[in-house]
């Protein structure tokens, strides 16, 4: 199935993806896109996927923290993955979704361009992240997966989001 992934399934609706049977063999990843790039997150870390809605901006926080959202009574911070990775921000489209993940007992939302698929990637198809020198930060990656002719960057979501936090607190310290 992974080899036959087409652009049509890449635009699979959020509900359908969330509803897919979560067989848990540890090598399943939820894949999503940022621009032309494909990313994957360990499916067990995903709590839910919800359509994009406007968020409330938090004053004096770094730009990648988009704001907070009311998720059934809980206040959840939302991170814009594009600005986190230094990519240009885009206007939300009908495919823009918020992927809600659990990071060290905290619930956080991540804005991505579109979710595409649940991928089974065998361990032999995952290779360690390449080194690029200083201009490309690969510390958020746990590896890169090969899926047919597609390259999927597998994210270490803890690293992505807790690094946010330390950075944000660091920024606060500098302001003080």
């Amino acid at each position: 199935m992974a080899a036959g992934t087409t652009q049509a399934s890449a635009t699979l609706s959020a509900e359908a993806t969330a509803g897919l049977g979560l067989s848990t063999d540890g090598n399943q990843f939820l894949s999503f896109t940022l621009g032309e790039e494909h990313y994957g997150v360990d499916i067990l870390r995903i709590q839910e996927i919800k359509g994009y809605t406007a968020v409330t901006r938090i004053p004096n926080t770094p730009g990648f923290i988009k704001g907070v959202l009311n998720l059934r009574g809980t206040i959840v911070p939302i991170v814009n993955l594009r600005s986190k990775f230094g990519m240009p921000e885009v206007e939300p489209t009908m495919f823009t979704v918020i992927v809600v993940v659990v990071v060290r007992d905290r619930i956080m939302g991540v804005i991505v361009d579109a979710v595409s698929d649940v991928l089974d990637i065998a361990a032999k198809d995952i290779q360690p992240p390449p080194q690029f020198g200083t201009n490309v930060d690969v510390s958020f990656l746990s590896g890169i997966g090969k899926c047919g002719d597609k390259l999927v960057s597998l994210l270490n979501i803890d690293q992505v989001l807790t690094a946010d936090e330390t950075e944000a607190i660091h920024a606060l310290d500098q302001a003080a």
Binding site: L69, L172, A175
Partner: protein
């Protein structure tokens, strides 16, 4: 114990602490009114409940000790002796010890056994002789029962020891032993009663219709023996009855048969050995570990490891016993249930309306929705009310504190309490105990003068500390007021300059000077007492109160007294807020902090060095904080005269916060922002508005600080 009682243990601990409070309160009042029998009975009942309950849960140490207190209380109740300060003192100290014992039963630190024994002896001695020798271990003769009891029995009264093994057919003939004991009570006073259940057969051979009980009663009565015997006329045959005139009272250390005494105690009581001999023998007793090591059965290391394990196991239950619970007035619950009933009715009316709705029914719909709103609001209030407890429970610890403090400081102090019925949130109640204690100690130690100084100043010798609690607006105020010497402005200033807190010649307002005493490490006390003066305390008070979202203020007049006012939010979960708009964002300002909202005239807004803006409100200038600048957002109005200035107050300072528009006032539920994110400066929390979007609640203090260091960065 076959039934698992652990689930009820929490209830026991909670009840016990209530009973302890009753005892302590009662004892303190008893000092003022030694003849109040009602009061004495109340204390007795509380002690008795603790004894009974502790027995049920197997906390024998608690039970035995309470029993000894009870013996003394009983003698007081029977008018054997009158209440003297010495006796109340012993009882108060015993109450403290009882607290420790109960805490130990819960898994707390082990009680001091020496102190326990000492108190037990004092109690026993007081129960016998009506006086409290400091150390009775040197006068063991006094603990022998025969010597004192005869002397203490009232002349003209007879004392009978009645042992009655009830006949097996008692129930079959429809006779009720309770009624017979009641008859005995009519004759006089039953001083002690013991139930012996040793005649019970094994369960298989138990005949539920037979009576196997034996009572031993001690009766004090003006009637003759024949009259007493008459009570048992109908039950003579079959049972065993002995009635003997007993001069001596029962030994004061009598315990229930269900609680076996240690061998040593029995030996001492029966006079075989003296207490010293026993103590000596006990101290020579070897511990199991030592014996094992001596016999080479185990190495000292193994023993110490095992001991360590034991220690750890003993320390463990401490963690588990901490489940918070709350006792709620049944009336509150009943009202809530009624309201939920109403809510269900409204809901079913609405859903039946929804199934076949057409536009003609619109007015009905509007009315039902209004009803729903009313129901919801009422339920919300009631549910919040469940968390509300009267502050009296916190106040009740202070009479004792003041009594002890006045003894220690050699001052005469009376404590007046009012507003005990004022209700506030459980969390708040739990957290204000310590700050209030600090304030009361401070008033007793620093505030009030010694008697001679008071007399010299033309004041009554008796100093007064007044505590009051009342509602004011959306918050609760608690005041601690003393009629002492007041804060000495010059002394504080001098000390502050000496400690380098302020520069010499700095001009400070009275409020600012008074505020200095809340600085960490600040103390003007000439000498440090063990009560206060170390300079820790006032800053802790301030910190604790501010952590609860409250404020502390001081009013003082030299030579007249000082009043501390704590202003606290009623509850921590819901606040009344004002929604304000800045550009496209809206924020909520807690209503308690808002003094007023104004639209200034051009002439009242002034700038200082071209940057700092101030506004003149009724003759004084206050800094303007532009919310848009503090939060780096776009505002519609840049001109203060077109915008709205919301005057906010924290502790001693006032600022004017500039916003675009006031949107209205509403109750908001505080949601944590830190749970999934982190603390954001200037924001106290988040809330969810009616349309489901998130809005932030401003933290006024944080906002002021934010605008300050924002400015300093700019400068």
């Amino acid at each position: 114990m076959s039934t698992d009682l652990s689930q009820f243990q929490d209830a026991f601990f909670e009840e016990s602490s209530e009973h302890l409070t009753t005892i302590e309160d009662g004892l303190l009042q008893l000092e003022q009114r030694p003849d109040d029998l009602d009061l004495l009975n109340r204390i007795f009942r509380a002690a008795h409940s603790i004894k009974g309950n502790s027995g049920m849960f197997g906390f024998t140490a608690v039970g035995q000790f309470t029993h000894k207190m009870e013996t003394l209380l009983d003698q007081l109740r029977n008018g054997k002796f009158s209440v003297t300060p010495e006796i109340t003192d012993i009882l108060l100290r015993s109450t403290d010890q009882l607290k420790i014992l109960i805490e130990a039963a819960r898994g707390g630190a082990a009680p001091d056994t020496d102190l326990l024994l000492q108190l037990e002896r004092e109690l026993a001695a007081a129960a016998e002789g009506g006086e409290a020798p400091g150390n009775t271990s040197s006068t063991p003769s006094q603990t022998s029962p025969a010597a004192t009891a005869v002397a203490s029995s009232t002349p003209g009264l007879h004392r009978f020891r009645i042992t009655w093994a009830a006949p097996a057919w008692l129930f079959q003939r429809g006779l009720d032993p309770v009624r017979m004991i009641g008859e005995l009570e009519d004759l006089g006073t039953i001083i002690s009663r013991t139930l012996d259940t040793s005649r019970f057969p094994a369960f298989e051979s138990l005949d539920p219709e037979s009576c196997y009980l034996t009572w031993t009663l001690e009766l004090e009565t003006p009637k003759e023996q024949a009259v007493v015997e008459g009570v048992f006329d109908f039950v003579r045959d079959g049972g065993e009855l002995t009635i003997e005139a007993s001069g001596p009272a029962i030994s004061p250390v009598v315990t229930d048969d269900s609680e076996p005494k240690p061998l040593g105690e029995i030996l001492v009581e029966s006079g075989v050995v003296s207490r010293e001999t026993l103590d000596k023998a006990l101290s020579q007793q070897k511990r199991l570990g030592e014996i094992l090591v001596e016999q080479h059965a185990a190495t000292p290391q193994q023993i110490s490891q095992a001991l360590q394990k034991q220690g750890e196991a003993a320390a463990q239950p401490k963690k588990t016993g901490d489940a918070a619970s709350i006792r709620v007035d049944t009336g509150k619950i009943d009202k809530l249930i009624n309201l939920v009933g109403e809510l269900v009715i409204t809901q079913s009316m609405l859903s039946s309306l929804g199934t076949r709705f057409d536009m003609s029914q619109l007015p009905v719909l509007v009315e039902r929705v209004a009803q729903l709103e009313r129901n919801t609001r009422e339920i919300q209030e009631r549910v919040m009310g469940i968390r509300m407890l009267p502050i009296g429970s916190t106040f009740s610890r202070f009479p004792r504190l003041v009594r002890d403090l006045s003894g220690k400081a050699g001052k005469k102090i009376q404590l007046l309490l009012s507003g005990e019925e004022t209700e506030l949130d459980k969390t708040v109640i739990e957290s204000i105990g310590d700050p209030l204690t600090h304030l009361v100690r401070n008033s007793a130690d620093h505030g009030l003068e010694p008697p001679e100084e008071r007399l010299a100043a033309g004041k009554p010798e008796l100093g007064t500390i007044r505590m009051n609690a009342f509602h004011e607006g959306g918050s609760i105020c608690i005041t601690v007021e003393d009629d002492g010497r007041g804060l000495n402005r010059d002394k504080i200033l001098a000390k502050a300059i000496k400690q380098g807190l302020i520069a010499e010649g700095e001009k400070l307002s009275d409020d600012q000077i008074n505020g200095l005493i809340f600085r960490p490490g600040f103390s003007t006390a000439d000498k440090i007492t063990d009560v206060s003066g170390r300079g820790v305390g006032m800053d802790v008070v301030k910190k604790n109160i501010e952590a609860l979202g409250g404020t502390v203020s001081i009013k003082t007049a030299l030579g007249k007294g000082t009043t501390f006012t704590l202003k606290l939010p009623l509850t921590l979960a819901i606040i009344e807020g004002m929604t304000v708009r800045v550009g496209r964002e809206s924020y909520i300002i807690p209503l308690v902090s808002i003094l007023e909202s104004i639209q200034p005239t051009a002439s009242s807004v002034k700038t200082i060095t071209g940057k700092g803006e101030v506004v003149e409100v009724r003759g004084s200038y206050h800094p303007i904080v532009r919310l848009s600048e503090a939060f780096s957002i776009e505002a519609d109005c840049q001109d203060p005269t077109k915008a709205i200035l919301v005057m906010l107050e924290t502790e001693q300072e006032r600022v004017a916060v500039m916003v675009d528009e006031l949107l209205g006032q509403q109750q908001v539920v505080i949601k944590s922002l830190e749970k999934n994110f982190r603390k954001v400066e200037g924001i106290a929390g988040a809330t969810i508005l009616g349309d489901g979007t998130v809005s932030f609640i401003l933290d006024v203090r944080g906002l002021i600080e934010l605008s300050r260091h924002g400015m300093s960065v700019a400068a």
